[in-house]
Subunit: 429 residues, 2 copies
């Protein structure tokens, strides 16, 4: 095996598209991931709210890359790098590379309050999603059994920290669950009495979108019973609820369910790259990459996706969204092919096809350059873009069928309260 | 609320069909379950082997019973009974009944070796199924990364304790995974090299079936690469494998994956019924019920499903299968209606429609009285019976579509290695 060895760390959008771009090239590719599947994260909130099952938005990496004989997939966590010897270090072994692509993404960030993690789960993994689903459904179950009105109220109060796309999507789906899905399911409570609060530090929701769409998203949420607290910050979380600070005023809100969509931080390999390869990091721990996505001074090490800060195009970092990661992954894959053939390489350029965020079952906001769309049309575009990707990805036509079926019947078939293995007692929050 | 109060404990096949039989009757029904969903247990092994997602074989109890205004569903675990005051005791409250139906089923039984539970999971809950799925898939992943041939062999050795229907179904599905599903997915191992051993204490597989079908099932398993060890008992399980005793000979088999399908024991409420109502129990902890399924001496307390031992029809206990539980649940529901109208009640009678067990993707054995069928026709009947039930149950036509699709494409879409919430490190067995 004297082939040029490429190691890819991470099988998300960036790593997977890098691998595909190297499929059947004269290189030997090894993709490491801690999980055996690629996750379609943009639909993860639909698992968290019981509309889809985890299996429907995840595909085994082996299956996705099966057709490329030059690619192997290995389950394992890369914990360190040996830059001198060009090796990645796993917990139990090493692997050598000629080119390295790091695509390990980002995780939640509790701004120094890691004790909040247990009280307010974020939404990054399949386990996060089923945990959030468990908490939401359990809250309604507990409210149904609670005779004390004040305690019942706190079971029926949901606080979401963070008014970006994830927070807005979660809040919209929760509004839909309370007003629609569960409408006829309880005898002692009216699920529509649920109070859903969306807390955002900026003065408007969806800060990366233009202000007119932010305002429209807020109005759409209101019609789903979601109240937005703008210019407000969550300053404390305890078992009873959250403390929210607006200006100089602090208020404690009794809420048994708190969800975290407020911040992300680059994954740990950013720090490893800084230590081992002198990679410059930004405040969020992302690697400030060169125009060709390499680590400055290390032409054989590339960073793509949420772990990379690419400021060369607009002066600001590109957003941490799937299209950026995919285009970067593909770019690096092609760059390695071109390098080996001695072809010149031009810098990475992101082609922005537009921004979409969905609000509940038939509303969304969309930005395509100067064109701003809100309401049903935007929602339809959202469905089209996301489900078409899934369909194309692994022949997931059935997910589309299921989705349309659930949409028409207002059904949420995956409404299961499950937990870690071998839980036999009822779950208590 | 002066209506006649019926409390049902457990939302499995027995409890659910009892509730349905009481739907819109002039009684007030409360169904307690520890989980918020009804689980279609006969297809649970398909979750364990990655063919279906948990959400596809589970339905929220609230949704199933929504249309009956006289039935409420409450999430909670009944831990004790107050027979004098006719109340069930939950961990945090009490509920009064006039008639009580106990349908809490059975759990695994490790014959006094509860320390085996962590080493060899059984298959009763959704969490069990995803845990088994995790172990099976992880074993192939670890084998792919293992350079030592002996250790690799032990990752590729799977032992299933128990050759009843569950054990046979698991073994068949595992054979299919190794020989078919994973065939092109690995670079360093051949999944078909996997060794699958089915250990059964009796002298043949599927003891409740007639001997000719047992022999056919064994032959079908052989063609899937499954070897049956008959007249053999698992006498020890450790982290390295199992010790199997055949006659006087003990042998240690190195196997990193051991699954338990060998024994079930009645759920804990059987013991509570014995203590509080003097219910007679059999050796497996099941309640020996009267011909009308009541606890002897307690005409208002009924036991249905796997928790009941009903010997009055054949002299032997009826088997612990879904059709028995469903017919018993329906019988007790109707009995309560008839009692209230002063109508006479005849004893319970089980109508046996036949027995089915499936072996892999296109083989099965079926017994309908004197008619014995094996092979593709039996498999087709099995599909028909099980999927038609699901389709009828909650309009689950999509599961049928997905299933047929998976069958044709030999796909197992739900091949995810997941674990308890917030697991971020790679899973090691």
């Amino acid at each position: 095996m004297s082939a040029h060895r490429v190691v890819i760390v991470g099988g998300g959008f960036g790593g997977l598209d890098a691998a595909k771009a190297l499929g059947n090239a004269p290189v030997s590719v090894t993709l490491f991931d801690r999980r055996n599947f690629h996750l379609f994260q943009p639909l993860l909130y639909q698992v968290a709210t019981g509309a889809l099952s985890p299996g429907e938005i995840a595909s085994p990496l082996r299956v996705v890359l099966r057709k490329y004989a030059n690619i192997e997939v290995l389950l394992g966590e890369v914990v360190d790098l040996d830059v001198e010897n060009r090796q990645v270090i796993l917990s139990d072994s090493r692997a050598a590379y000629d080119d390295l692509i790091v695509a390990t993404g980002a995780t939640h960030h509790y701004f120094g309050n890691d004790q909040w993690a247990a009280l307010a789960p974020g939404l990054k993994t399949v386990e996060d999603a089923t945990e959030i689903r468990r908490r939401i459904l359990l809250a309604f179950e507990m409210a149904e059994r609670e005779p004390d009105p004040q305690k019942r109220r706190s079971w029926l109060t949901f606080v979401i920290a963070g008014g970006g796309a994830t927070g807005v999507e979660l809040a919209g789906a929760l509004g839909e669950i309370a007003n629609d899905t569960l409408r006829w399911d309880f005898r002692h409570i009216n699920p529509a009495d649920a109070q859903i609060l969306l807390v955002e530090g900026e003065s408007r929701l969806l800060p990366p979108f233009p202000p007119d769409l932010s305002a429209k998203a807020e109005r759409q949420l209101v019609s789903l019973g979601v109240r937005s607290l703008l210019g407000a910050r969550v300053v404390n979380i305890d078992a009873e609820g959250v403390t929210v600070k607006t200006g100089d005023c602090e208020e404690h809100i009794a809420a048994r369910t708190v969800l975290w969509a407020a911040g992300v931080r680059a994954s740990r390999l950013g720090k490893v790259l800084a230590e081992r390869a002198g990679a410059p990091l930004d405040r969020a721990g992302r690697v400030l990459v060169a125009p060709d996505l390499s680590v400055p001074g290390h032409p054989g090490i590339y960073v793509v996706g949420d772990l990379a800060n690419f400021p060369h195009q607009t002066g600001k970092p590109l957003p941490g969204v799937a299209p950026v990661a995919m285009q970067q992954g593909r770019y690096v894959g092609r760059l390695i092919r071109d390098k080996l053939r001695g072809r010149p390489v031009s810098p990475f350029h992101y082609f922005n096809k537009g921004n979409l965020a969905t609000v509940g079952r038939n509303r969304a906001v969309a930005e395509f350059g100067k064109l701003h769309v809100a309401g049903f049309l935007a929602w339809f575009l959202w469905v089209f873009v996301h489900l078409m990707y899934l369909v194309e990805f692994e022949n997931r036509l059935l997910v589309l069928v299921e989705w349309v079926y659930n949409y028409i019947t207002r059904n949420r078939g995956a409404r299961l309260i499950t937990r870690g293995e071998n839980t036999r007692t009822p779950d208590r929050a």
